[in-house]
Symmetry: C2
Subunit: 250 residues, 2 copies
């Protein structure tokens, strides 16, 4: 068995205040660090450590290369924004472990969780995910849009709050508005909707709206969108931003 190891490390939402000691230790131990370039840019490394940045469309290749480097004996970290297990690199690495050479399956593999975007976004506005909820990627790059629609319908019908990852991009400009339109047929117009952009970073922005008003124009690739359940409440506060929460009896 190789002495190499691959650690898939969640950086959390951005600022080092949200990076766990476990994740920092995994970064410190690594010789080579792979990742999407903007995530690698967030971390400082020692001169003998090597960063190997890549584009955000090459997850499979990045995972394969990192596994191969670890099999060759390197201590390798794969960095991921937020939590690596939620629409991020942990699944891409597991896919390559399954498809790749036998050596990938004997390798030491560690996954270090991080504060996910949905948890950071929820904390920034209250507790909108305080009761049963679902988490959906609105990207139809890897699954048909009709399946996303079925999941939205089901979530609305049984009263899940919802967190949307990948709500919009230049190549997918209409999906978020289409999702809002579909949900309007099943949920009250007053259902709270939260647009949480870049939470935990310097350019953080939070907007609390309603399903009746919500517009895809208020989101970009760095936005996490939360749609409440019919039970979700907004508390207006004098001189402070509103609190959004889903009660425990929901």
């Amino acid at each position: 068995m190789s002495a190499g190891k691959l650690s898939v490390v969640g950086l959390g939402p951005g600022d080092a205040r949200f990076l766990t000691p476990e994740a920092q230790a995994a970064l410190d131990r690594a010789e080579w660090l792979y990742g999407y370039a903007p995530y690698l840019d967030r971390i400082e490394v020692r001169s003998e450590q090597r960063k190997i940045p890549s584009d955000n469309r090459v997850e499979a290749e990045r995972a394969y290369e990192a596994l191969a480097a670890a099999v060759e004996g390197r201590r390798v970290a794969m960095v991921s924004g937020g939590d690596p297990g939620v629409f991020a690199m942990a699944a891409a690495v597991c896919e390559q472990v399954e498809r790749g050479p036998e050596a990938f399956r004997t390798l030491e593999l560690e996954i270090v969780p991080g504060i996910s975007a949905m948890l950071a976004a929820a904390a920034a506005c209250g507790a909108p995910l305080g009761h049963d909820f679902c988490v959906i990627s609105l990207s139809d790059n890897l699954k048909p849009w009709t399946l996303i629609e079925r999941r939205l319908d089901a979530a609305a019908e049984v009263g899940f709050a919802m967190a949307f990852y990948n709500p919009i991009s230049k190549a997918r400009p209409w999906q978020l508005d289409s999702a809002f339109a579909r949900l309007r047929e099943r949920l009250p117009a007053a259902t709270p909707v939260v647009f949480a952009r870049a939470i935990g970073r310097a350019d953080q922005r939070l907007r609390v709206s309603s399903l009746g008003e919500a517009s895809g124009e208020w989101a970009d690739m760095a936005t996490l969108v939360i749609v409440g359940s019919p039970a979700t409440r907004v508390i207006e506060r004098p001189g402070r931003p509103p609190l959004v929460y889903t009660p425990r009896r929901a």
Copy 2:
């Protein structure tokens, strides 16, 4: 406006390795620390700080008392295991802000996210929550069991992976087996099921099974249960525990 402040702080899954610097700073700043006694036991405080432990059935009272202490000018922390926003104290605090005196709404309130049990459990076994998923409390203390059944049915029908909080307790001994039985009518017997107990603590235990075999006897109050979607895969590894993951095309 009072100089007091309430910070609702997520401790993560247990070990201090998973406590973020932001959460540690919030604990350090607090004068009074409220929480369920076993969570308070996890943290060390200075002699001038005061711990106010309470039982796990009194979330509303604990939240009210913490808010009242902050309104009186104290710097107060409310500690929560995992993430405070997921079936935990953030929603209970928001409920009291809404119901309580006007002063609760002008108070400075901060919610500091933590690594939730589901993220820690998923990381310990691979990436079972790597694609669309839902999160359900199996406790029928605060909602009818029939609603939980509808959510289970919907989740199975549209292919969500599932994370179950509060799967079982002495007062709720049959709910988890009932959920498994219901899911067996809609999902293949080979669907992976993960029992993740006390992940991130010294007595951590992980069991990977299948829906056909899964038994409620394998869970206790400290267990997070994950049920895969029909797309979820188990990778057997020589000399290592299996990896469980949900592919990105799911």
